[in-house]
Symmetry: C2
Subunit: 343 residues, 2 copies
């Protein structure tokens, strides 16, 4: 039935060890035997059994990818395919396969990760998110298992290899951009603060205000939850303030789309009456009306580099801890207006 290394050995008149070494392209085997063995392998249509090889070699040549099946906007539709593409590109180049998490809740995901590492299903793990007080991350860190995160860790930042955008800096930059356009009243519609990315962007926003000598006002900050539950109301209250904002920073393009829609219902025009910028530059942001000014965060890169980092750690357990911020670019479209001299 299935042809094994032993069949090949017999047919090629060598020992199984030799066949094994030919598969691994061991330099200590003569070219001649290699040729002969390879011929037989082809002729017999031999394929190495993955499980057997993994068991004997104590490695799996696969990496685990853990996705947050949460409601986090940042990890909704458009993000996922792109990180995966980045991960696949790097993994494929190094002949690694990908094992994807399937769990839907935090608990399920935690259990999966434990069984991946304890059960030796994978050689390393990529966490596709960074959340506050994450048990899974702590477990991974304590188990000394090779892993990488896409996102700045909430804790133990100096002990964990990760990749991210410099979310604090880019949020700061976005606010500065609005300053340049003459805006002083800038609201912020945040993401789920369970995720570090949301905290960081909010932090950058606050810092930018501070650096400009403006004070942060609570009524200019709409919390993720508030937005989700009573979206329209929160926007309504925001725009009915004595000093309504002239610009809004949204945590994500999807959020921005919804905001624009509600503003419309209130007959508030973007960018005539209020400007809007957001993050993540979804593929469709060029098509909405008005085309959205947004920060491109290089999602592919994020996945690609995270995998490179991980593979380094897998191949060299004492590789140093590394961080890298993937550069971003503000894509100016038509959702912001220069109000210098108008106001």
């Amino acid at each position: 039935m299935t042809v094994t290394i032993i069949d090949v050995a017999r047919e090629a008149n060598v020992s199984p060890s030799t066949v094994s070494r030919v598969i691994a392209d061991n330099p200590r085997i003569s070219e001649q035997t290699k040729r002969k063995v390879r011929e037989v392998m082809e002729q017999l249509e031999y394929y190495p059994n993955f499980q057997a090889r993994n068991l004997a070699a104590k490695s799996t040549k696969t990496i685990g990818v853990i996705m947050s099946h949460s409601t986090s906007l940042a990890f909704q539709n458009p993000f996922f395919p792109e990180v995966i593409r980045g991960i696949c590109t790097s993994a494929h180049a190094s002949q690694y396969g990908i094992y994807l998490s399937t769990g839907a809740t935090e608990e399920e995901i935690y259990q999966e990760v434990v069984s991946m590492v304890q059960g030796r299903k994978v050689d390393g793990i990529i966490l596709l998110y960074s959340r506050v007080n994450d048990r899974t991350m702590t477990y991974l860190k304590d188990s000394k298992f090779p892993f990488t995160m896409v996102g700045r860790p909430y804790k133990y930042e100096s002990e964990i290899t990760y990749i991210d955008n410099d979310n604090r800096a880019i949020a700061h930059d976005v606010v500065d951009y609005l300053f340049q356009l003459g805006h002083r009243h800038i609201a912020f519609i945040g993401g789920n603060l369970e995720f570090v990315v949301s905290m960081d962007r909010l932090g950058g926003y606050k810092q930018a205000l501070k650096d400009a000598g403006l004070s942060y006002a609570d009524e200019y900050f709409i919390h993720d939850n508030a937005f989700k539950s009573k979206e329209k109301n929160s926007i309504y209250s925001l725009m009915k303030l004595d000093k309504p904002p002239t610009a809004i920073v949204a945590h994500d393009d999807l959020v921005a789309y919804e905001v624009i829609r509600y503003l419309e219902e209130l007959s508030i025009q973007v960018p005539q009456n209020v400007s809007i910028v957001s993050f993540n530059n979804h593929a469709l942001s060029a098509y909405v009306k008005p085309p959205l000014t947004s920060v491109d965060i290089s999602i592919f890169e994020l996945g690609f580099e995270a995998t490179n980092f991980l593979l380094e750690k897998v191949q060299d357990p004492k590789a140093t801890v590394k961080h890298h911020f993937v550069p971003t670019t503000l894509i100016e479209r038509e959702s912001c207006r220069n109000i210098n001299g108008f106001g």
Copy 2:
């Protein structure tokens, strides 16, 4: 170091076989021994080694998911996360894991699939696409390996278990819908005809015209390639015909967005001057201007059912071949206009 079944056996005063049976929850083991063994397992923090179990049991408890890294619109961003979610939901419920393909070209994907089946990396495979004359599909069919497709197979339809939308019927329905609104001049902007989904939708369009006693006109059909290379031109020529269409059917929402954008540049208004319907109902289609009328194809369901079918086949090799069309719904928004009585 790593605690094995033998350590557990010793500690629990039973044989390794018994421990193994406890893990499998074999009914022939007494509840008492089970309790004792389980206690020891917990105490020793024992976790079964995945690779060893797979090798001995000749099963992997994982399914391979093959994605088409092509340019096929149907498998672009918004589709992928949703099918995956459907697949994960079903797989997780049956305690199966997911192994994802990483290849970027047809050849790479083919090689991966071969190594997945020959190398026994997975117990079954889901093909997330259906393309014309696909070597990978033929290989899978000939190898008798359990697999399922999301998409109607180009050939051997009666021999392959698959799940799909009834793309011919829904395209037919969409055209009928436009008929009801009074349209008689209906253009079709197709997808990549390498994919069966594109062929089917085009087929449904043609059939609908025929059934209504209208004849199919080549100048009303814009081929995927033509559209991609000289998008604007092709739309321009279309609208400059003696009898320009009053309605356009687009193969996918992303295509529709682009069409709308070009029409705008030509100062042609949707739906005032021309109506537009498309397929796939991307999450963002409610946000574009005008909100897009589109067919929701139940992507989650597609992934979920495909996995159910596959798992059936994996667990029972002589399960019958099955097909199922997942129902769809036309989401009416604001991109179509009723022109009855106008002309």
